[in-house]
């Protein structure tokens, strides 16, 4: 009973013409089109509409000539180049610089990509209860963007985005099994700070309680600032600074500031906003 079938709607006809109608409806529409001249005539009408549209549009376009592509393409290339130059680009594997470096999450990485993983893990000497002033080295081994000393120092430290995306912060808490973090109680901190080339990835973040003893994230911020100054003054190798801060920053702090306990001024050092 061919005549009893319903005709195809304009919308379905359009979608069919452009191959965007989903199965199983598509099969039914194709079968109908085989049978129904009326619908095929409508389809032909749409095709004619397209043809006429294109012809008219071509002549409209001809009335407004566009400049040749070469100039704009060169301009784009130039601005892409300068954007790349500003970006701390050129991440590369620096495993050779750190013989102790071990690939973090090697299994996961192997699934994701075959080569050149930059994430470096330092399995610390201590196995701390997390979270605390030092991260759990298994969860937060540290990860860097591999950028040069020069690149680190051309960008003001404050300009390095320190804001951790909410979703990532949530996962950090999840990883540390903190079910419902109290607002203003933690800072989701970088192990290696962005100003020192640290990466905004799970492996480089951990929740630091604001109230946890004297070794607070503020003290660590002060150390990071100090290390960065040394790096940018050419007195310290960037790779060394990264490694030191990732290994045991408290020991490093003691060494650099020649003190057993944090300097009072550093305890008040305010740079980052708490996680809310």
């Amino acid at each position: 009973m061919r005549a009893a079938q319903q005709h195809i709607t304009d919308e379905e006809l359009i979608l069919t013409m452009d191959g965007e109608l989903e199965e199983p409806r598509r099969g039914a529409v194709d079968r109908h089109l085989n049978q129904c001249w009326a619908c095929r005539a409508r389809r032909a009408e749409f095709e004619r509409g397209i043809e006429n549209y294109l012809a008219a549009q071509r002549s409209l376009d001809a009335a407004v000539p566009l400049p040749p592509a070469a100039g704009p393409t060169a301009r784009l290339r130039a601005s892409l180049d300068s954007a790349m130059a500003q970006e701390p680009a050129g991440w590369r594997s620096a495993a050779s610089r750190w013989p102790r470096a071990i690939l973090a999450g090697a299994a996961a990485a192997a699934m994701a990509v075959p080569v050149g993983v930059t994430l470096l893990a330092w399995f610390g000497t201590k196995n701390l209860e997390a979270p605390g002033p030092l991260p759990d080295a298994r969860l937060t081994p540290g990860a860097v963007r591999l950028i040069s000393q020069q690149q680190v120092c051309v960008v003001p430290a404050e300009d390095e985005g320190r804001l951790v995306p909410a979703e990532l912060a949530r996962r950090v808490f999840e990883q540390y099994r903190i079910a419902s973090p109290k607002p203003r109680a933690y800072e989701v901190d970088y192990l290696i700070s962005p100003a020192l080339g640290g990466a905004t990835v799970l492996q480089n973040l951990w929740p630091v309680p604001y109230s946890d003893g004297v070794w607070t994230s503020r003290v660590k911020d002060a150390l990071e600032d100090h290390l960065r100054q040394l790096v940018c003054a050419g007195k310290l190798d960037l790779a060394t600074a990264q490694q030191e801060i990732a290994t045991d920053w408290i020991a490093v702090y003691r060494r650099y500031f020649r003190t057993r306990l944090p300097v009072a001024a550093h305890a008040r050092f305010v740079k980052d906003s708490p996680w809310e």
Binding site: I14, D18, E45, F46, A56, M84, W91, Q151, Q203
Partner: protein
């Protein structure tokens, strides 16, 4: 959900060791620019932006595309992404236009070249009819046609214009039948 940042760091790790070497995303952006520039400029011009401003918007959009790719964001439907971003830039630009030009001064001083009248007269009756129908279409319908002519799928167009798939298909079918009907009445 994969950790995007992690993927990013891993993905970028495969990049060249030196900063000066060309990066693959950069080439991809330039390549896509070559493919999309003309339809994109036509589309932006259709929104009411002078050609020269369209060029600036396109530049900004493709620069944003580089950041998008470098950040490891989703890479499917990149043409639709470019159209969408450009459209937003263009609309912002048009809104603030008279008070304070969003783009360069030089641009304002370079008027679009108008077609000469003789050239226009050379068109066939059918073409003139079609042009009249196109001119009479609702701006939204005209944009749908233009984006479809640029090769975007209906789904992608729906994303660019922030409307439902159904409404995109409806406006294209409406516009095409109008054009077909108008031109079949003459001959």
């Amino acid at each position: 959900m994969a950790d995007n940042a992690w993927i990013q760091s891993v993905r970028l790790a495969r990049g060249p060791a030196t900063a000066s070497a060309a990066c693959p995303e950069q080439e991809e952006v330039v390549h896509l620019f070559g493919e999309l520039r003309v339809p994109l400029l036509r589309y932006l011009h259709g929104l009411g932006l002078p050609v020269c401003d369209c060029e600036d918007v396109a530049q900004d959009a493709f620069l944003a595309l580089l950041r998008h790719l470098r950040a490891g964001k989703p890479r499917d439907h990149l043409p639709a992404w470019v159209f969408r971003v450009s459209r937003n830039l263009a609309l912002k630009c048009i809104q603030q236009t008279s008070a304070q030009r969003c783009l360069d001064e030089d641009c304002a001083n370079a008027p679009d070249r108008a077609a000469n009248p003789e050239e226009q007269a050379a068109h066939s009756q059918r073409e003139r009819t079609t042009r009249a129908v196109i001119a009479a279409l609702a701006p939204h319908d005209r944009q749908c046609l233009q984006l479809r002519a640029a090769g975007l799928s209906y789904r992608a167009i729906a994303g660019v214009l922030d409307v439902s798939l159904g409404s995109v298909v409806a406006c294209v079918s409406r516009a095409l039948s109008r054009i077909a009907r108008a031109t079949s009445q003459e001959k």
